[in-house]
């Protein structure tokens, strides 16, 4: 018995030091040396101020910006509280939502999200919507929307931002990423990158404001 107690305790100590301290510390040093930007969270700066992180979605509601997917992280895009809705396929709440009540904030269902999306973008009920536009992402921090979703929003953004549709569509094309090696993942548009481009275009077209 004693013969196995000593290694059990000491080997745990060795694992704690080696894998608990030395490995993360070593990776941190190497990461900082090789990929300093990514190691610090791929933060995006505008005029020296951190405006977000390239991989982390943030909320946009203004009509002159593209809107991200619905989010269930905290009160929406809370990057310290990632979460999906965890509502299942036969959930009435998922489809029709639930009103705000004492102790719980309201929840907007997919049917309501679809109606809102059509209204905001002036689309008829017969326009089919891309699936990502009206569903909550897994993390609540999805940085991307589908290209179809971006294209449906383009006329609204162009009108509200005082830009031409061509300018906005060009910005979409520039922010679109295709499948990796033409195979992995899905085509997508990074909303923060796209809206930064829109903000720059607005700044140029409306110098006095």
């Amino acid at each position: 018995m004693l013969k196995i107690i000593k290694p059990a305790i000491l080997l745990t100590a060795v694992f704690t030091i080696g894998t608990g301290f030395m490995f993360p510390a070593g990776i941190t040093l190497l990461a900082r040396l090789l990929f300093p930007g990514q190691a610090n969270g791929s933060l995006v700066r505008s005029h020296g101020v951190v405006v977000g992180a390239a991989h982390i979605g943030q909320n946009f509601t203004a009509p002159y910006y593209f809107h991200p997917r619905p989010s269930a992280a905290g009160n929406g895009y809370d990057a310290s509280n990632s979460s999906g809705t965890n509502l299942g396929p036969t959930s009435d709440k998922l489809i029709h939502g639930s009103p705000a009540a004492a102790g719980s904030s309201g929840f907007t269902g997919i049917a309501q999200l679809a109606a809102q999306y059509r209204k905001e973008n002036n689309l008829s009920a017969s326009t089919p919507l891309p699936a990502d536009a009206v569903t909550y992402s897994a993390s609540g921090l999805d940085p991307d929307i589908s290209p179809a979703n971006a294209r449906l929003q383009a006329p609204r953004v162009a009108a509200a931002a005082g830009l031409t549709l061509n300018q906005v569509q060009l910005a979409i094309t520039q922010s679109t990423r295709t499948r990796t090696f033409g195979l992995l993942g899905e085509p997508r548009v990074n909303v923060l990158a796209l809206n930064l481009a829109i903000a720059r275009l607005r700044a140029h077209s409306q110098p006095v404001q």
């Binding site: 979605g57 943030q58 990057a79 919507l129 569903t135 993942g185």
Partner: protein, 588 residues
């Protein structure tokens, strides 16, 4: 399935088929104590570890000592983690000032049981409750230790089957040290840096306050993510640095990081079949297991992907696109990320539940009923479809024993495996493991559904345990069934709507994890101890070849029959009932 998802699946299988013999042969050398490419660098480190810990590497253990040492090692690790979690408030690397308040005694018990058993079930929101120190030291060390001990047990069982007229099945300490130094560490070193390059953070910064374009401040959780992410996937642990796990853009930022994460789940479990073949002196024996696993894997991917691509009728009724186009994914995108779409989410879900990984890149709770049935069934199969590191191989070898036993019954002949007679003792032990796991899953799930508990009481403030579900109807039952399946199967994924952070669920799920790990390992080590003594019998024309197609079919039959007979009634009450309700447009 779309062409794209088929091509991705084919590429995935191809890479695993290519890596399996290479890594498998390498691991066989490692565990037979032979010199490898890395010996000149790691040999001296290995010697120092043995000296520091008082390990005599040439000393072999009987199965009883091997099992006892493993239990003791697990107890030490679990107690250490419990203490560190409770004390996180006074420990360093805690920029968000989390304390024991976020890690209540019942939650700390559940979490330490969870990480010790390679389950990595998380009843807490990591970025809201555990410090960098807790993540890195209290929790992630188990990602290494439980992976190493899982591999060790598998190797010990293989020794039991392949050695003869012996008493010992190896030295646990040596197997664990070698698994860590020669297998896990070199891969994780490269892997963690790759993840950083893709965009996974690795820092000790306090949470960043970003001033968003529209004004409000966004608090962005940071941390030493990459170093934990690598071993989380490679060791089939699955415990996320963040609540959303591998769906979180910081854990899994790109389609490429996602594909590599999927590969890293199956990498070692698949290779272990080849290690088994090498050690058994017949590579075909390993490929036979590999083939049976592959068939079930591919079937799961096809069913799950098809169901998810079909989407939800109630969503389609809002005139939302279901068919994929070149510019949008279609299908059931609720709880899925845009960069992964349907194909990569369904593929990931099947892989993570075939193995005992439990990392998720999409929310299984929001899958379609059939899409969610596949992950659930994968875990219920005993996680033998490649399975956890080590756990998959020893689980499948258990089914191999049951399969040859059934074959023996059919022809009225004492069954043999690898030339050794399978007798009463081995079959009893294998059946013990099967029955204990089934009893844990079904018993605990049934108890949670019927047990009345007082509201506002200590055990479950909400009252009766079944009120903790997030979804009404059959789906609510699925949430509870999935929880105890995941805990007993040491998977760790969840139908995460269930509020499992109450003393009742923390205690029962923690117990299910310990049962699922150790009441599986001990009978299997007992089998190893009994088999290692036996003398091989000569192969005759009556010997049933266990490297043939017939054996693969029989093995598949054993896994599917045992699983279906045991769990079909429960599945009928959960996902199957829900599917029928869904196609009739019923909502709850």
């Amino acid at each position: 399935m779309t062409t794209n998802s088929l091509v991705q699946l084919a590429l995935y299988c191809l890479i695993i088929v290519l890596t399996t013999p290479v890594l498998g042969r390498y691991m066989a050398r490692v565990f037979q104590g032979e010199k490898t490419l890395l010996s000149p660098i790691l040999g001296p480190v290995e010697t120092v570890v043995y000296r520091v810990c008082g390990i005599e590497p040439s000393e072999e253990m009987s199965w009883q000592v091997y099992a006892g040492a493993l239990l003791l090692f697990s107890v030490v690790g679990m107690v250490l983690t419990y203490i560190l979690l409770r004390l996180q408030g006074v420990l360093p690397l805690n920029p968000q000032h989390f304390s024991g308040a976020q890690m209540s005694p019942d939650l700390a018990f559940n979490t330490s049981a969870s990480f010790t058993t390679n389950t990595n079930w998380q009843a807490y929101v990591p970025e809201q409750s555990v410090s960098y120190f807790s993540n890195m030291v209290a929790l992630a060390i188990h990602n290494w230790m439980s992976a190493a001990s899982g591999i060790a047990v598998a190797i010990a069982l293989v020794r039991g089957l392949t050695r003869h007229s012996g008493k010992s099945i190896g030295n646990l300490w040596v197997d664990m040290v070698r698994a860590t130094l020669y297998v896990l560490l070199p891969i994780c070193l490269v892997y963690a840096l790759f993840l950083v390059q893709q965009g996974v953070p690795q820092n000790f910064l306090p949470y960043v306050h970003a001033h968003t374009l529209e004004g409000p401040v966004q608090t962005i959780a940071e941390g030493p993510v990459a170093s934990q992410e690598a071993i989380k996937m490679l060791g089939t642990n699955g415990g996320g640095f963040f609540n959303a796990n591998s769906a979180h853009p910081y854990e899994n930022p790109t389609p490429l990081s996602n594909f590599i994460q999927m590969l890293s789940i199956f990498l070692i479990p698949a290779a272990l079949t080849a290690t088994f073949g090498c050690m058994a002196g017949s590579k075909r024996q390993g490929w036979a297991l590999f083939a049976a696993m592959s068939v079930m894997f591919v079937a799961g991917v096809v069913v799950c992907t098809t169901a998810e691509q079909r989407g939800l009728p109630a969503v389609a009724a809002c005139n939302v696109m279901v068919k994929p186009t070149s510019s949008q994914p279609g299908g059931n995108m609720e709880g899925k990320e845009t960069r992964f779409g349907i194909s990569d989410s369904a593929l990931f879900a099947v892989i993570t539940t075939d193995a005992s990984c439990g990392a998720v890149n999409a929310m299984h709770d929001s899958f379609t009923p059939i899409g969610g049935l596949v992950p659930l069934s994968n875990i219920l199969s005993g996680e033998v479809i490649f399975g956890g590191v080590g756990a998959g191989l020893y689980g499948m070898l258990m089914f191999a024993i049951i399969a040859v036993f059934i074959a023996g019954l059919m022809v009225g002949r004492t069954p043999e495996y690898l030339g050794k007679k399978i007798e009463q003792y081995e079959v009893k032990m294998a059946m013990l493991a099967v029955l204990v796991l089934a009893a844990s899953i079904l018993g605990f799930a049934a108890l949670a559904v019927v047990l009345p508990l007082k509201a506002h009481g200590y055990w479950n403030p909400g009252g009766n345990p079944w009120t903790n579900v997030n979804n009404a109807g059959a789906h609510g039952f699925s949430e509870i069934l999935y929880a105890f399946t995941s805990a007993t199967g040491n998977n760790g994924s969840a139908f995460a709507g269930l509020n499992a952070n109450t003393p009742y669920f923390n205690l029962t799920l923690g117990m299910a994890m310990l049962i699922g790990r150790f009441l599986m390992i001990i009978p299997l080590l007992a089998i190893a101890g009994s088999m290692v003594k036996k003398v091989p019998v000569p192969v005759t024309s009556g010997t049933f070849p266990t490297d043939s197609g017939t054996f693969v079919v029989l093995l598949l039959g054993a896994v599917v029959l045992v699983g279906a007979l045991t769990f079909f009634p429960a599945l009928a009450l959960g996902p199957i009932a829900e599917h029928l309700q869904m196609i009739h447009g019923k909502l709850f």
